[in-house]
Amino acid sequence: DARVTQTPRHKVTEMGQEVTMRCQPILGHNTVFWYRQTMMQGLELLAYFRNRAPLDDSGMPKDRFSAEMPDATLATLKIQPSEPRDSAVYFCASGPPGQEWGEQFFGPGTRLTVL
């Protein structure tokens, strides 16, 4: 049963620390999306990649957030330095080739708490 995996599942850190979240998309999927979920804002798209190339990261605060795909099996989202307002659940999702506008498959999320 192919699934998107994310690590860590939970992260508690102090303000100012660097946070790295990792995502392994479903094998063969070529689009990867990063979302942030908060009570106030709901689900927000932060960035997305197609064939490892960033297509849109306009939803991401550029000064502290960065997203990369070092290879087809790994996507990373970094926050440096982290702030309390970054506390949220961060979801990664992937999609199969030829269906960029279709269904996205979500990972279990990383629950981040910044103290």
Binding site: V4, F33, G42, L43, L45, Y48, R50, L55, D56, F91, A93, E100, W101, G102, E103, Q104, F105, F106, G107, P108, G109
Partner: protein, 114 residues
């Protein structure tokens, strides 16, 4: 930019009651429509989707949704809810083109009491 509105933030129903969750979107072109469900503590899972064809779409667990183009709506329905349907439901839309991303509504939290 397109937007998605879900009319109810919270819905409370008793078991066996009928459910209808509203969803409206703003984009005027051809769209693809989705309903996702997020059970407590879990990730989003697809309930159903509409790309084209019959505007009445049937999904998993007895859910269905009807696409009404003239009303820009894609409401989710279930004739008889169960306690296990307690979850948050998200409507999502994207343009039917190669590089469009999903726009999600804010979600509706459904609580079904036994």
């Amino acid at each position: 930019a397109q937007s998605v509105s879900q009319h109810n933030h919270h819905v409370i129903l008793s078991e066996a009651a009928s459910l209808e969750l509203g969803c409206n979107y703003s984009y005027g072109g051809t769209v693809n429509l989705f309903w996702y469900v997020q059970y407590p503590g879990q990730h989003l899972q697809l309930l159903l989707k509409y790309f084209s064809g019959d505007p009445l779409v049937k999904g998993i667990k007895g859910f269905e949704a009807e696409f009404i183009k003239s009303k820009f709506s894609f409401n989710l329905r279930k004739p008889s809810v169960q306690w296990s349907d307690t979850a948050e439901y998200f409507c999502a839309v994207n343009e039917d083109s190669g590089y469009s991303t999903l726009t999600f509504g804010k979600g509706t939290m459904l609580l079904v009491s036994p």
